[in-house]
Amino acid sequence: MTGDYGALGRALLPEGVLVATALVVILCDLVWGRGRGRESRVQASVLLGLLGLVAACVILWQEGVLGEVGSGALNLDFLAVAVRVGVVVLSGFSLLTLVGGNTRSQPAEYVALLLFATVGFLQMAAAQTLLLAFLGLELASLSLYVLAGYDRTRPESAEAALKYYLQGGVSAAVLLFGFSLLYGLTGSIGFREISLVLVSNPPGALGAVAVGMVLVAFGYKVAVAPFHLWAPDVYQGAPTSSAALIASASKLAGVALFWRLLWSGLGPTSGGVNLSSSGPGGWVLVVAVMAAASLLLGNLVALAQRNLRRLLAYSAIGHAGGLALGLLAAGEVGPGPLFYYAATYGLATVGIFGCIALTERETSCATLEDLAGLWRRSPLVAACLAVFVLSLAGIPPLAGFFGKFVVFAAALRIDGLGHPAGWVALLAIVMSMVSLYYYLIVLKQAWLVVPPTPPRRMAVPLVASLALVAAAAGLVVLGVFPSILLGLF
């Protein structure tokens, strides 16, 4: 038992670094920041937080695949490491949006909470028992609730946080109930043991209820219809960098967690990937339905949005359908396409929020019309925005196109149109054509429309512009050389 502590300590080192950094940030702000200007306190906190994230990233990279640790509680396999690096990077970009953004009070606590949320994501990426899955989810969620409501001056922020919290709380309760049933059915909380029992003992009606409850939580976390309702309100009301974190890193971690839970834990109840033998059934069918609903709903409603953030939220719901599809396909081809899709999607989204954060420093950036003339205000921001939006739209050769391509191809490879996933992939292709319409509206506003009043050039901090360019370049490079990510799997 004691021999295990060493391995455990090594495995948890990144988390330890992040927690320590969070505490240092708060302490530093208390001691050093007293009486200093807000801007310098923000910069110091962000810098420290970034250092912690970079250190965590380096440690994760150095350690590599450690296998199972903590008596099988965590499984640091390849996917876990990839996702952990991914969420740390995305959290870093979210943190950087704070630099350009309209700065808020008590930056140290904000940064600390963001780091705590990242710890939660790290747990989610590696959890291999129901207990750690639940705890990781709750740690991330609780931090995100507070981050969403962090702006105490705006009622929208509080409202968004409360809605996020309420749906999250109900989903967590439902998930816990489902977990308790799984424990009762299998007598165990480890994914692998659950899977072993489920293979030999069909779980029956109680199992169906338990799986359904897990799916509710999955729908909530990834914003898949019909459990998506929180998303538009939260995207709109939450502070920009919180929304960025919720839209990117949180989603990637959620996808990883539920991939592991659903396939390596509840795999026997999936109804089988190859349905040709047994006919459709199990949760694969239900996830396919949810994915189709998301694709339809997200993309159609996004067409009607005038508010930029709500538009992003509905487009995110559409993409959640794509992620759910990737989750299905992962049973056949492994999690590679899913991870690629989620990671590049997160990068593009966090980039767009970065652009929004920079824009709203000087003017409001709420409706689409507020983007008018962005290319005059800052060609750099407008160019980066174009890359991010086109990537989301799936225009080759950006990473977004490739993400869609691998996921759709994987979904069709299961059994062509003989499998529900094939039909959903077809729908996703159609919807990606529809989505182009509203993405182009965004770009038209930013690039073509001339605003009524002559715009002023906006000041873009060097760090923020570097971050934007890095994210945009990442999307281009990953799109042209997808094997950088896919070759890993």
């Binding site: 019909p226 949005q305 062509g416």
Partner: protein, 674 residues
């Protein structure tokens, strides 16, 4: 000097570098991007000629060079380059016409402040098209295809200050996306069915014989072969790009871009992509030909659509009053001829016509650009006139181009390529209707082009612009002369008794039919051309138009026919009424289900009546007079209706979660969690 297949990527890479350079050059430097673009095009032309020379050494051999793009698990996705005479000829064509258009543009856009950006887009356009030509992979072809679409969007909407230009750009993009949808589905299907993204891969590629045999022998429900279905899906994509009925609506509106762009789009780049795609995947399209049991052959569909388009485009060109619109509908018609040729099995004739058409249509568009430039942007036929004396070079070259387009016998290139198509159509065993449509199209083509020339260049000037027109500068005349020479001379490369071009493209012997065999057909088609010219002269030549406001002579004779043609047969309106309506209905049905699930039984009951009312209202209100944009507006409207479900009330969200849990649970129980 020849270019090996492994270096083919250099051909698109040079204009691409020029476009990056042009787009990122400082806005004050006007000449730098132009020089860069010209340099890139010259280099690409040189490389293309070298590539063609290499391909012609032994036309039967396909040189491929593949590389692994990425490896994922046990799977490797390979892309590659392919050099055969088809690709070689097309590359030379695209770069040559691109270069001439670019030269013309330096003069045409000399006053535009954003000329640097224009040349950046132009280079991107050409680069994407070249990439599409030299690739050995349908996936890479699709990527370039999308880039062509994006670049055309940027170029058509180049003068975005004009709302019509912005709308046209959007229309072009969206309409071709409808086609691309078919392409993408076909691509994914083909990839799934063959496991390869390559065309030719030593027997394992999608176009290699063993694969094709497998595809055509796999049958779908209803007896269709898989290859038929995939082929038709790919054709939908080609139809969108190449302006085939019913996806042709974007092409005439694309006139809103600068005229050199129109020349490029109509001649060598955008619309040629669809025909090229069909020629490239021809083995796949023809794979089901040998099967007697298949209820429908892919090529039959291509032939029918091509014939309809050829006829429709010619008919619609008759009553247009915008010089560029006439030419645009003529492009639609000529593209129809090319598809018709492919449909009847003669892709070589289609490519032959593609090449000759590219030159004379570029000539006609640039000639129109020259007229428009000289008359200070006057495009209305009724306000032009009498330019023959003032713009001699433009007139002479335009007349040569007209002769080629009409297919005046023996001298002009268009005659020979059109003859090849008609000959192939005549020999088609399935039906003679396409052949008949082609013959009718010949009359109409001669008619509307006669009208165009008479109205623009003869009679007396009927507008301010035309009255004071002067010949265009040398930089504009030069390309016109070069194109005119090609418009006349190129036809001699593919004479019926000396089919040099055909044998090279085919990579083998092309059935020589002496002048004697096809002579009857030639006499008929010549007679038809003369008939068309005569009719044109009858209406527009005998009595010259004197006043811009005078009623069109044709409208005087047959008012109903003219009104229908001028209204473009109300096709746009038909779309709004059918496609738009269908979307709206779909959305409403979806909204109904949506509400039912969301709100629970209690809320649904109250709202059923409301939904029924909405459907009712939609049927009542949306008349037939709505425009194209209604389709997208309907979609947005459905989105707005969905959005109302998001009431903002947190408890209604939670209710949805609860109902969702119940539904998911029931679905799982029904599906049977074992």
């Amino acid at each position: 000097m020849t270019l090996s297949a492994s270096l083919l990527w250099l051909i698109p890479a040079t204009p691409l570098a020029a476009s990056v350079f042009g787009l990122f050059a400082p806005r004050t430097a006007r000449t730098l991007p132009i020089a860069g673009a010209l340099l890139g095009l010259v280099a690409a032309l040189g490389l293309s000629v070298a590539a063609l020379a290499g391909a012609l050494v032994d036309p039967a051999v396909r040189a491929t060079s593949d590389f692994a793009w990425f490896t994922f698990g046990a799977q490797t996705l390979r892309l590659g380059w392919l050099l055969d005479p088809l690709a070689g000829f097309m590359c030379v064509l695209v770069t040559l016409i691109g270069l001439l258009v670019a030269l013309f543009s330096t003069a045409y856009l000399r006053h535009d402040p954003r000329i640097g950006r224009f040349f950046g887009f132009l280079s991107l356009f050409v680069a994407a098209m070249l990439g599409l030509l030299v690739t050995n992979s349908l996936l890479l072809l699709f990527i370039c295809w999308e880039l062509v679409g994006l670049a055309s969007y940027l170029l058509i909407g180049f003068w975005y200050e004009r709302p019509a230009a912005a709308a046209a750009a959007k229309k072009a993009f969206i309409t071709t996306r409808i086609g691309d949808l078919g392409f993408l589905i076909g691509l994914v299907w083909l990839h799934q069915a063959t496991g390869s993204a390559l065309f030719h891969d030593g027997g394992a590629g999608a176009l290699d014989a063993p694969t094709l045999a497998r595809l055509s022998s796999t049958l779908l429900p209803g007896g269709w072969a898989v290859s038929t279905a995939i082929g038709l899906l790919l054709f939908v994509g080609a139809a969108g790009k190449s302006g085939q009925f019913p996806l042709h609506v974007w092409l005439p509106d694309a006139m809103e871009g600068p005229t050199p762009v129109s020349a490029l789009i109509h001649a060598a780049t955008m619309v040629a992509a669809g025909v090229f795609l069909m020629a490239r995947v021809f083995p796949l399209m023809a794979a089901d030909q040998g099967l007697a049991t298949v209820p429908f052959h892919a090529l039959t569909g291509v032939a029918v659509i091509g014939a309809v388009t050829a006829l429709l485009g010619a008919v619609l060109a008759v009553a247009q009053n915008d010089i560029k619109r006439v030419l645009a509908y003529s492009t639609v018609s000529q593209l129809g001829y090319m598809m018709l040729a492919i449909g009847v099995g003669s892709w070589v004739a289609a490519v032959f016509h593609l090449i000759t058409h590219a030159f004379f249509k570029a000539l006609l568009f640039l000639g129109a650009g020259s007229v428009i430039d000289a008359t200070h942007h006057e495009q209305d036929l009724r306000r032009l006139g009498g330019l023959a004396g003032r713009m001699r070079v433009t007139f002479a070259t335009f007349a040569l181009g007209t002769g080629a387009l009409m297919g005046l016998p023996f001298v002009f290139s268009g005659f020979w390529s059109k003859e090849a198509i008609l000959h192939a159509a005549e020999g088609w065993t399935v039906s003679h209707l396409p052949f008949a449509a082609g013959l009718v199209g010949v009359v109409l083509t001669a008619f509307y082009m006669t009208r165009l020339v008479l109205e623009v260049f003869f009679g007396k000037a009927r507008g301010e612009g035309a009255a004071h027109a002067e010949e265009s500068p040398g930089l504009m005349r030069g390309p016109l002369v070069v194109l005119a020479v090609a418009a006349v001379g190129l036809g001699w490369l593919g004479l019926p008794n000396w089919p040099w071009l055909q044998t090279r493209l085919q990579g083998g012997d092309w059935p020589v039919h002496g002048l004697g065999e096809g002579f009857g057909l030639m006499v008929v088609s010549t007679a038809l051309v003369l008939l068309g010219i005569g009719a044109g002269w009858w209406w527009y030549g005998r009595v010259k138009r004197t006043d811009a406001r005078a009623l069109d002579p044709l409208a005087r004779s047959w008012p109903a026919v003219h009104a229908a043609l001028a209204g473009r047969l109300w096709l746009d309106e038909l779309y709004a009424a059918t496609v738009g309506r269908a979307f709206a209905m779909l959305a409403r049905v979806a909204a109904f289900f949506d509400r039912w699930v969301w709100g629970g039984a209690v809320e649904a009951a109250g709202r059923t009546a409301e939904t029924v009312g909405q459907v009712n209202r939609a049927v009542d209100e949306d008349g037939l007079n709505a425009g194209f944009d209604n389709t997208s507006e309907h979609l947005r409207g459905s989105g707005r209706r969905y959005a109302k479900a998001q009431t903002g009330d947190a408890q209604s969200y939670l209710r949805v979660v609860a109902i969702g849990l119940a539904v998911v649970g029931v679905l799982l129980l029904w599906g049977g969690v074992r």
